[in-house]
């Protein structure tokens, strides 16, 4: 029972990281209708920046995270402006391939700067841990922090998209770009802001991911990126609560699957569950069904 609880907590912690990454995916998809494959690599860049800030400059962890967020925000906006904006009218596949190109570019730049040797990520917030059931169940501070960060981000984003003018503009653009433009919304700026928020979240996710799994390589971001993308689809791509639920469920399924079914098949189980869900709910758990016009 206690081991089950422990796995469940691991699952929620990993799921929270997936959820934060998936939020970035889902927001960008909702607005720009593109699969941003480079998102996973922004996580990696964020983690490296935080690593350098702490290790080489000696900044305190919180400042390092802020540095990473600032850098990734700028990076996200620059990538959007240089690579994706000229392709706004192009086919979906052209944008997809460009995103893959950007992903290669980030990975190989990181490879040149930081080499392929894995870096050991320092523990960011070692405040201590909670011990329950006579010390049988240890919850580390990273786990608690990840879950708290996840909840805060979720509430913040919901308030942002629901209450602020920019958030409303985002929802308008995701509904209908043309109509939003006619209403005086600056579509390009709205998309830039979306990328900025998504990339800042990716930086946080990178730091949280690397505090839990402390090996940092140029390819660190790609697998969590794909899984978070799966999580976004799982919950219904384009929906913020969907990304949250999808991420959490995916993390829990992965950890429980690895613990109780087979360690090697953990990823296969995650993807199999995704396929089953999509077969019965083709737009994901919380996605809106697509109506077709004739």
């Amino acid at each position: 029972m206690i081991s089950f609880l422990r796995f469940l907590i691991y699952g929620v912690s990993l799921g929270s990281v997936y959820a934060i990454i998936a939020l970035g995916y889902t927001m960008v998809y909702g607005i720009a209708k593109m699969l941003n494959f480079a998102h996973g690599d922004i996580i990696m860049v964020g983690a490296y920046i935080a690593f350098c800030a702490m290790q080489y400059i000696g900044l305190p962890p919180l400042v390092a995270v802020l540095c990473a967020m600032a850098f990734c925000t700028v990076l996200g906006v620059v990538i959007e402006g240089l690579a994706y904006r000229p392709l706004r009218q192009a086919t979906k596949l052209a944008v997809l391939i460009t995103a893959i190109g950007v992903s290669y570019l980030l990975q190989n730049t990181a490879l040149l700067i930081w080499s392929s040797n894995p870096k050991v990520f320092p523990s960011v917030f070692s405040v201590g841990s909670i011990r329950l059931f006579d010390g049988n169940l240890v919850i580390s501070s990273e786990t608690i922090l990840t879950i708290i960060a996840n909840i805060v981000i979720m509430i913040g984003l919901t308030l942002f998209t629901g209450r602020t003018k920019m958030g409303k503009a985002m929802r308008a653009v995701s509904e209908d770009k043309g109509a939003a433009e006619l209403m005086g919304i600056n579509v390009n700026r709205t998309i830039s802001v979306t990328f900025a928020i998504g990339s800042a979240l990716a930086a946080i996710a990178g730091v949280l991911l690397c505090s839990a799994y402390p090996t940092l390589q140029p390819t660190t971001g790609s697998m969590p990126g794909i899984k978070a993308f799966t999580a976004a689809v799982f919950g219904g791509i384009g929906s913020i609560p969907g990304a949250m639920i999808g991420g959490l469920l995916l993390g829990i399924i992965e950890i429980l699957g690895k613990a109780y079914i087979s360690t090697e098949l953990g990823d296969a189980i995650v993807f199999a569950v995704l396929i089953v869900v999509l077969l019965f709910k083709p737009a994901g758990l919380l996605g809106k069904p697509i109506s077709e016009k004739v």
């Binding site: 596949l93 391939i97 290669y104 190989n108 087979s262 098949l265 990823d267 199999a272």
Partner: protein, 351 residues
Amino acid sequence: MKLKKNAVNNIICYGLVIVVFIICQAMISNGSMTRSLKGQMVPICVYIVMAVSLNLVVGISGELSLGHAGFMSIGAFSSIIGAAWMRSALGIENETLRLILSMIVGGVFAGVFGVLIGIPVLRLRGDYLAIVTLAFGEIIRNVLNCFYFSLEGNRLHVAFNNPNLPGTILLNGPNGAKDVAKISTFPAGFVLILFTLFVVLNLINSRSGRAIMATRDNRIAAEAMGINVTKYKMMAFVTAAVLAGMAGALYGLNFSTVAASKFKFDTSILVLVFVVLGGIGNIWGSIVAAALLTVLPELLRAFSDYRMLVYAIVLILVMLVTNNPMIRGLVNGLFRRKGAAAQTQGGGADE
């Protein structure tokens, strides 16, 4: 008798492939080809077949598939096991015959999985379909990592997650296949390319091919005309899977060690890049792009560490330039007469 335009185009296509093959063969025999390039010849053939078959799904059928490497891996491993079994159990020593039979084995297995995967996948649309093909590709790789095969005399042993098998190990879980007899040859790859072209071009120019393209262009209209959408989508998907399986067989039997990690998501993406850069729906373009881009990293050897970086930048720049409306307009103006070619490029998975 006047040949149809399609037939003329197809004959030119086959002719060019044959000419290129003869040139390459001549270069190999008089020694003017570098060693590393010579080693690339079979992979080039493999990637050409992969790109053409993926183009059938992405360009002609209009469904974005991100798991094409999964079929390649099924073809590779089933053919490796098949080739070893044929040698010991059936006593087939002739390498060419064994290669052909193994390729058929690879194609059949990949085709069976193509049907099994196609049934759920083709119910979905657009990005959801893409993510599910990605998921299937990853599942195939993950499950293959847990399989162990061994050969004892002419009996085949299979185990799941259990490396202790009697006899010689053929497939060793995550370590993949070892000591594979390298029986793939460049001429065999060339024949496979011709076979692929024959199948794909004939399919495109047939009644079924027109039905597939009609489904791509407008699903509802096609359905209203009485086209069985699922059947034709399935036809394209399974044909592509079989061809990918055969390419996988050629690939698997070209190296002495093959692990499932070679058929990652990255491989599927690599093939997709060939298809998109060659022109979606343009078979000829896929061939050129696959050949050039397989050789490109080799040519960029001078840049050594910067090679993949240059590759990424080239990729982004090509996408930006080819999708620039001004340049597009210019090119279209120049090739106004080749209207037919431009039209086939217009379609694809961009609903």
